[in-house]
Every structure is written in C-alpha cells, then in structure tokens.
C-alpha cells in the first residue's frame, strides 16, 4: 500500500511540475503565440511594423470600397477602440463582409495604411437559421431605437 | 428540393462531402482492419496450439 501511494504522489508531483513549467514557458512566449495583432496593439506599437505581420479585427460597417477598374478593395479594420485602414488586391473569401471578423497579412505603408497580400475571414461561434438571425437582428434594432428615442 | 440541389449543398458540395466522406471512410477502415487483424491473430494462435499439441 505504501509503495503504491508513493508512486501516486511521485506522478502527481511530476505532473504539477510539468504543468508549472508549461505555464511559465507559455507565459514567457505570451503574445508570440497569437496569430494576429489587433488594431489597438498595432497603434500601441506592439506589432513589428517594419516587417510583414497579421492584422485582425472587424470590418467596419460602411467602410468597404472598391476602386474602379481593378480588384483593389479598401476597408477599415476595427476592434471597437482603434481602427486601421486596409487596402487589398485580390479575391475575398465567402464570409468576408462588413461587421465580420477578418485577418489580413501584410505591411504598414508610410501613410499608415495596411497593405494586405492575403485576407482570411474569421467567423464567429454562433450557428442559427436565417429566420432566427433576422429576428434577432430586428429585435436588436428595435432595442437600439427605443433607447435612442 | 431535388436530389442534385441537395447534393450541391449550396455550392459547398466538395467541402461537405469531402469531410463526411473522409470521416466515414476512416471509421470503416478502422473496423475492417480490426476484423482482419482479429482473424489473423486467432489463426496464428490456433497454429501455435496445433504445433504445441503435436510436440
């Protein structure tokens, strides 16, 4: 019985040490494990603006504009605190839309515009039929109206 | 809704059928492999028993 308990203690201590070590490593790596930077992080200078990096956030409503004659699209990416203008030439994924999440890979230019060479759509974790979504949307709008009135 | 409309999955046919197809395929392969492995194993042990009984 004694030996068994000793082995169990040993395993638990080893697992705790392993967990602690992993926690410390992950803590040290911190933001480096993040796939993208938010507009706030970019403006605060946390993103490597001299190199290619990924910018993630929500496409601001009514900000998507297409340049005439070519495939260039410009839009604003926001995290509801700060926002950054983005320009992209190419085909956008199916789920790319205003009010939706997206992640762009590219570089900041001298004018503070993010020149993207790849745009990915990030979707949310909510799933529902279109009727329900429409009803929720209408409910939200009614609520907004009643609070502004 | 016709069959081809349903099969088209609103344009996502490749992705939906590619996912469900691979899932079902993997499970079937696992089950068949287990079945074959079990038969081979039983035969091997039976052969071993025959050999030892003959000793």
């Amino acid at each position: 019985m004694k030996a068994r308990q000793q082995r169990l203690m040993l395993i638990l201590i080893a697992l705790a040490a392993l967990g602690l070590a992993t926690y410390l490593v992950l803590n040290a790596l911190g933001g480096n494990l993040s796939y993208f930077f938010s507009p706030t992080e970019v403006i605060e200078g946390k993103a490597p603006t001299d190199r290619i990096f990924r910018l993630g956030g929500m496409v601001q409503a009514d900000s998507v504009a297409r340049a005439e004659g070519d495939l260039t699209v410009t839009f604003t990416v926001t995290d509801h605190h700060k926002s950054i203008p983005v320009a992209y030439t190419g085909i956008l994924p199916d789920l790319f839309a205003e009010g939706q999440g997206m992640i762009a890979q590219g570089k900041m230019n001298a004018d503070g515009v993010f020149i993207a060479d790849e745009v990915l759509a990030k979707h949310d974790e909510n799933y529902m039929p279109p009727e329900v979504a429409a009803a929720m949307d209408a409910g939200q709008k009614a609520k907004l109206q009643s609070t502004t009135n | 809704m016709t069959f081809s409309e349903w099969f088209d999955m609103g344009g996502y046919a490749l992705y939906v059928w590619g996912s469900f197809g691979m899932t079902v395929l993997c499970m079937l392969i696992e089950v068949l492999q287990l079945k074959r492995g079990g038969e081979t194993l039983r035969q091997r042990i039976a052969r071993l028993n025959r050999w030892e009984n003959a000793q």
């Binding site: 082995r7 796939y35 279109p130 429409a134 | 469900f20 696992e30 042990i45």
Partner: protein
Amino acid sequence: MPSNIFQFSSPATFYPLAGRLVPWFSVIAIILIAVGLYMSFFVAPTDYKQGEGYRIIFVHVPAAWMSMLIYLVMAGWSIVGLVFNARLSAMMAQALAPTGAMFTFVALWTGAFWGKPMWGTWWVWDARITSELILLFLYLGYIALIGSIDDRRRGDRAGAILLLVGVVNIPIIYFSVEWWNTLHQGSTIKMNAQTIMDETMLVTMLIMACGFWAYSIAVALIRVRQIILQREHHASWVREIIGDQA
C-alpha cells in the same frame, strides 16, 4: 488483492466481459451515428451565414472532442497502470491509441475542408490548429514508442510516461482560442456563457458526439481483446478459448 473491482483487472476475467459489452456499444453507435447523419442532412436548418457549408460541424466538433477525450482517458489509464502496476491499464491505453489518432486526423481534415471555403485557406499555423497537430504527433509517437520496445513492461512504462508528459497539450488545445488571438473561432458551447446555437443543430451535434463516443468504446473493447490474446497467447485460458482449429 483479488477482491471485487480488482478482479476485472485480470485480463482473463476482463476478456469475456469486454466481449459481452461490444455488441451493446456497437448497436448504440450504429443507431446514434445513423440518426446523427440523417439529422445532419435532412433536419438541421441552414446556417444564416455559412449556408450548407456549416454542416461540417456535425463531424468536425465531435471528432475534435473525441480526440481530446480519448487522450485524457489514455492518460488516466497510464496513471492507474503506473500506480497499481496493473497490466490491463496499459493494454486499455494501447487499445485506444489508434482510435484517438484517427479522430485527431479526422478533426484536422474536416477542419481544413471547413477552413478553405469559410476562411479562405486550408491551413494556418494558429494556436488551436497547431496544438491539435501536436496531439496527432503525440498519438503517433506513443504508438511508435510502445511498438519499438520489445520488453512489454518497459514499453508500457515508457508509453505511460510519454502520455502523461503530453497531457499538458490538452488544456492548451482547449483554451487556445481564449488565451491567444487565433483564426479559429471560440468555443460555441461555453462553460461560463450562453450558447448561441440553434437547438436542432446543437442536438444533432450532441447525438453525433454520443455516437462517436459509443463507437470509440466498441472499437477499443474489440482491440483490447486482441491485445489480451496477443500478450497472453501462452496462457492456458487463451489456448482453451481459441483451440487448435482455425
């Protein structure tokens, strides 16, 4: 020591018990997966944003859950094996490994087939997807490790230690979408917030998950019986069961 529960830790006792359980779990798995597939395609409604493409969720999420759950169960058996020196625990872990690896592969594959149309890419190296790939390597590494050590006791112990070291990866996979910015969306079924998912969709996903769960148990029980036969083929009870005709 052979009193009540410990009796079942003897391979000779467990072999027939597992054999009796297999048909039950097989039938449950077949029924649940059949119902789940029917609901996936004919009952669950279209999604408001992802159209019909979201239906991949019905195999992707249950497969991803199983990939993590099976690993945790294997790690649990490893602790039991190391503490009690029970041979059967290592066999249980060994029997689960191929199924866990299979579900991990399925989760990655279906994820890629979802990512391509929805995100615009088959693969990204974000924290969620990368840690799930590491899980696949852990499974394959475990299978290779125990296969390469001839001494069974040493092989079992080495496998158990590998499983326990790798267990830190499971919370990393699970919480990656909360700890870091990832392309992968957050968990739909949250522990501390409301789930926003249509009820029919949710039920379909849960039925499929239960089906995969029953499938895993059935397959693992069949495999553990084979492992028992293989390891104990010299024992007299195995000889009696198999006989010399085949």
